[in-house]
């Protein structure tokens, strides 16, 4: 649905993004993750056709954004970073205007506007001037206009910023449900959001893509090992020795846990999946198995690891 190839953008001498390539298929929610000024907004502006790239190509639903701009733009619903809206116009009039620009026939416009107004809980404010709305309601209007024409592709630049927690949950649900039939690319700073709604993550830092993967795969890839935590009641030395004999275990560290039990942290080969064997081994020895858990790296860890590698290289 979206094919981004070798995208490069210079602002004067400053390189905003360089050789950015990724793909988003139909029915996929792709998260765009990166610190401030990493190039997220620049990439989105290029995909939506607001700015041309210095080099590289973007195809949206098969249309090149530069040579078939109008056709490509017709497939896109866009929510820019700061949710820009006209202030001297009512919510309903605004949606009607945006729907018209996207080429929606009046009858369809009416039914769709009714639907998005109800869906985004804007009924009460349908005839209020947008300038009088609070930040959260403006954000809802912004999302409403992006999904209004049921676009094939949705580009959302930080869609859940500034709205209340209940609405955040609803918005994520909405994006998720839209992601079933449409293609969604969203950028965010909020890491749990990515693991909740995105099937794939593109991590970008200083204009370069540093990782593209499923959120759960990222942790394995980065660590180079899988980690398992197990809590066992039993003689610590024997337990450690038994665990070490299991195929795939590289290292075991032990620390004391609650009520005479110990917590063992195992570093294992990627893909070895030793949990079943581990559990039966412990039970066979007659020790008490209190807990067993595969540890995934949190997205915060991944994010930090991916974007701050230079600092790590410095001697401590």
């Amino acid at each position: 649905m979206i094919e981004v190839q070798n995208l490069t953008k210079y602002y004067g001498d400053f390189i905003a993004i360089e050789n950015v390539s990724f793909e988003a298929k139909r029915g996929e929610v792709v998260g765009f993750l990166g610190p401030n000024a990493a190039g997220k907004t620049t990439t989105m502006r290029i995909i939506t056709g607001f700015m041309p790239p210095s080099a590289g190509t973007v195809r949206v639903a098969g249309y090149d954004i530069q040579t078939h701009s109008i056709e490509a733009r017709r497939q896109v619903g866009y929510l820019p970073e700061t949710t820009p809206l006209y202030t001297d116009i009512s919510v309903r009039d605004y949606l009607d205007f945006m729907g018209g620009l996207r080429g929606m026939a009046p009858a369809r416009r009416r039914t769709r506007i009714d639907y998005v107004i109800q869906r985004m809980r804007l009924e009460e404010y349908a005839h209020t001037l947008i300038g009088r709305l609070s930040k959260g309601y403006r954000q809802r209007v912004g999302i409403a206009q992006a999904v209004l024409h049921e676009p094939e592709v949705l580009i959302l630049d930080e869609p859940t910023i500034g709205i209340d927690p209940v609405q955040v949950v609803e918005t994520r649900e909405l994006i998720k449900s839209l992601g079933k039939e449409h293609t969604v690319v969203l950028s965010t700073h909020i890491l749990p959001e990515v693991s909740q709604i995105c099937e794939r993550v593109v991590v970008i830092n200083e204009g370069h893509i540093v990782a593209v993967d499923r959120p759960e795969n990222l942790s394995v890839r980065l660590r180079g090992t899988e980690q398992v935590k197990v809590e066992v009641r039993g003689p610590a030395r024997d337990v450690s020795a038994r665990i070490r004999r299991i195929q795939g275990v590289r290292e075991v560290t032990q620390r004391d846990g609650a009520s005479g039990a110990s917590v063992y942290t195992l570093e294992c080969d990627p893909g070895s999946n030793i949990r079943e064997e581990l559990a039966s081994a412990i039970v066979q020895q007659g020790w008490g198995l209190l807990g067993l858990q595969a540890v995934t790296m949190s997205l915060e860890d991944i994010f930090l690891k991916l974007t701050t590698h230079e600092d790590e290289a410095k001697p401590q």
Binding site: F50, M51, Y78, P84, Y86, D88, D93, L101, L129
Partner: protein, 249 residues
Amino acid sequence: MTNTLLIARKELRTYFGSPIAYVIMAAFLAFTGLLFIDSLSTPFREASLRGFFVGESFGGLLGQTINAAFVLLLLGPVLTMRLLAEESKLGTIELLLTAPVRDFEVVMGKFLAGLAILGMLLVMTLYYPLLLLIFGNPDIGPLIAGYAGLLLLGGLFLAVGLFASSLSTSQIASVVIGLIILLMFWFINQASNFFRGTPEFVFEFVSPRTHFTNFARGIVDTQSIIYYIALTAIFLFFTVRSLETRRWR
């Protein structure tokens, strides 16, 4: 075309949703009303709007310096100042230019909205000629020609104002830029006093004031019509280009 009309309709709605349209209408009516009275307060009163339209040697005391065309020149950039500057200030330009709409449709839509307001302004002043018709026996030709001239002239002012509005995110700055361009054009015919031959003709021809004087006298010259339309088109074209450079910056 549909997109152009959509944008024009939205802009008109915005004009009347904010005080700006009303303020400009009030200002225009107040100024032109004053000029109308002034143009009739001459020793040799005649039932005509020449003094109102172009002032100068026809007008009363005020009309020596100011006339309806000049009031339009001052208000034109104010009318157009927000059309594009506000879009870039609010950031809404990003949604407008990523919608499946061509740049020139955006520019034409905005221009049409301004033209519609201009039309309303002129219609509201129609009671001046109506008064002349009731209380005098004016020559109809110059009245119609004068209004046609004001419409063409106003269109040019709007195109220049719209171009100025595309250059900046500040509405104040776009008014100032618009006024500078317009005043330069307006008074450039004065430079013809310093030359003989071709330059004299060029400076006369380039100024919208020269052409408008003919209209007010009832002379509708095809050359003048083409002049106004061409110059308006050039500034609209500049505006489209200016929008494009914003993309490339």
